[in-house]
């Protein structure tokens, strides 16, 4: 179980995440919605410590994640894989190596030294990565540079990287905001599949309430860093949404879409 206790993050005078407390049982698929700037991204980054909290705690199965450092922190990041909106692949590395990055935290001692020095992963790891790439229809491009791939392909590579971490938790930050509908469906189904078949908890930021309803067990809505709704998808109806944001679902989606398109152009 993942537990957030009074989690807060300030950037200067702006409070991005404001005293958020949440308990996510193992194996849950949690959708987080909210307008751009509501603190969804920061919340996910706080969980895997890409952003340090100003106050509050993250606990996983009773372990205080916010107190980890060094090797233990690397271990935690391996256990909670992250999927980014802009994929965050290393463009000049080939697809196979990008996927193998998910195995980095499993290389210790001499093997780690060898990987660092030569970039050469053990054959068993390569085979494992190839099997994963094959699952996502990426075998044909395994030896191409990541930069030659389309956005949808790149996000599938990023998913392979995440799943190869053999995580207990997946943090997905707007994973489908830069994708076409077909790839978006594929990515959401893969997340759902990982959640259902392997019992991996998933925290996913989404801007389409509709997507969150279709795939998630539970929805959290954020507004100005605070959790303003937490419940089953069926409870978040049009009236409730209007009360929270003063917008209809369509307006909310359109606004978020426009905001999500901006970083994609940069």
């Amino acid at each position: 179980m993942l537990e957030l206790r009074g989690l807060t993050r300030r950037f200067g005078t702006v409070v991005a995440v404001d005293a958020v407390s949440l308990a996510v049982p193992a194996g849950q698929m949690l959708g987080i919605i909210g307008r751009s700037g509501a603190g969804k991204s920061t919340l996910l980054r706080l969980v895997n410590r890409l952003v340090e909290p100003s106050a509050g705690q993250v606990l996983h199965d009773g372990v205080d994640v916010t107190a980890l450092h060094g090797r233990a922190l690397r271990g935690w990041r391996r256990d909670c894989a992250m999927v980014f909106q802009q994929f965050n692949l290393v463009q000049r590395l080939d697809v196979l190596t990008n996927a193998l990055l998910g195995r980095l935290a499993y290389q210790h001692g001499l093997r780690r030294a060898r990987v660092l020095l030569t970039g050469g992963f053990p054959a068993a790891e390569r085979a494992r990565a190839l099997a994963m790439l094959n699952r996502f229809g990426l075998l044909a491009v395994a030896l191409q540079r990541a930069e030659t791939l389309s956005g949808g392909q790149q996000q599938r590579v990023a998913l392979c990287r995440a799943l190869l971490q053999a995580p207990r938790l997946i943090l997905a930050d707007e994973p489908i905001a830069s994708l076409d509908p077909a790839n978006a469906r594929l990515v959401m189904q893969a997340l759902r599949e990982a959640n259902r078949a392997e019992g991996i908890s998933v925290l996913v930021n989404l801007h389409h309430l509709e997507t969150a309803r279709a795939y998630c067990d539970r929805i959290v809505a954020m507004q100005a860093g605070r959790v303003v709704f937490d419940g089953a998808p069926s409870e978040l109806d049009a009236a409730r949404l209007r009360a929270i944001y003063g917008l209809t679902e369509a307006e909310l989606a359109a606004e978020a879409e426009a905001a999500a398109a901006r970083p994609a152009m940069a």
Partner: protein, 277 residues
């Protein structure tokens, strides 16, 4: 993952496990050739541990003589030399930057469509770049006599070609749409250059000139050694009479000066380029 599965994947996509044998052989050959050359070159230059050790102890002896640094009796000469070096660097860089500006425009592919002209100008830059500042300084000392003038000319001549090449490349990287906007408003080629190209490249050019000023301040110290004015002459004289404590003092002063210029030019760059907000 079991051994048979790994073997199956290896059979299916061998290239994912290791580069093909021919490429591996080729890499090994290149690596061996490089190592052999390196060993041979080191041997040719008498690179033995004994000599390195000897050199180190010699260096240590000099370091001991340097402590404590002392300004000596000729304070005024040192400061004048330092000021002269900075002035040489500044003048040389300014002259080089001004002359490089038109040359850069002439060497830019997107502006000069006469291939032959552009090609010969670019090759001329390349030729000039092959000659080091120190060589120019030696030549100018013979031509215009000892002193800072030779230094300024050496710095300017050596930098014109390099700056012109960098400027040409900056000009080639301008965004065409902005120039097109000026053309569409009825601007001729002069207007396009002045209002379409120049605003885009000027900050880059200034930044590069400032970097050159920094590195020229360091280089100007050496030019004095061959008689082209500046602090180098003072250093050379003191090394000749083994006044290492005074040499150390001058070196410290130079470090402070270069750091100050570094800081100043960083601030200037920020002011000139960071004007977006």
């Amino acid at each position: 993952m079991s051994g048979t599965e790994v073997a199956a994947w290896r059979a299916r996509l061998p290239e994912a496990f290791a580069p093909p044998p021919r490429r591996r052989l080729w890499r090994a050959l290149v690596a061996a050739a490089f190592l052999a050359w390196l060993g041979w070159a080191l041997a040719q230059f008498g690179f033995t541990p004994a000599r390195l050790w000897q050199g180190l102890s010699g260096l240590a002896a000099i370091l001991r003589l340097m402590l404590p640094p002392s300004p000596g009796a000729l304070w005024g000469d040192i400061l004048r030399g330092l000021a002269e070096s900075v002035a040489m660097a500044l003048l040389g860089t300014v002259v080089a930057a001004l002359l490089a500006l038109p040359l850069g425009f002439l060497g830019a592919r997107n502006l000069v469509t006469a291939t032959l002209l552009r090609f010969s100008i670019r090759r001329l830059f390349d030729g000039f770049r092959g000659i080091d500042q120190l060589i120019w300084a030696l030549a100018y000392v013979r031509a215009v006599g000892l002193g800072p003038l030779a230094g300024v000319l050496a710095i300017a001549t050596a930098d014109i070609a390099v700056l012109a090449k960098l400027y040409a490349e900056a000009i080639e990287a301008v965004e065409r749409r902005q120039v097109e906007g000026v053309a569409a408003a009825g601007g001729g080629w002069a207007e396009r250059l002045r209002f379409g190209v120049l605003p885009q490249v000027l900050p880059v050019m200034l930044a590069q000139a400032l970097y050159f000023f920094e590195s020229n301040t360091r280089a100007a110290a050496i030019l004095g050694v061959v008689g082209a004015g500046g602090i180098g002459l003072q250093i050379a004289e003191r090394i000749r009479v083994r006044a290492w404590d005074e040499v150390a003092f001058i070196i410290l002063l130079m470090i402070v000066t270069v750091a100050a210029i570094d800081w100043l030019s960083a601030w200037l760059r920020q002011r000139l380029i960071g004007g977006r907000r």
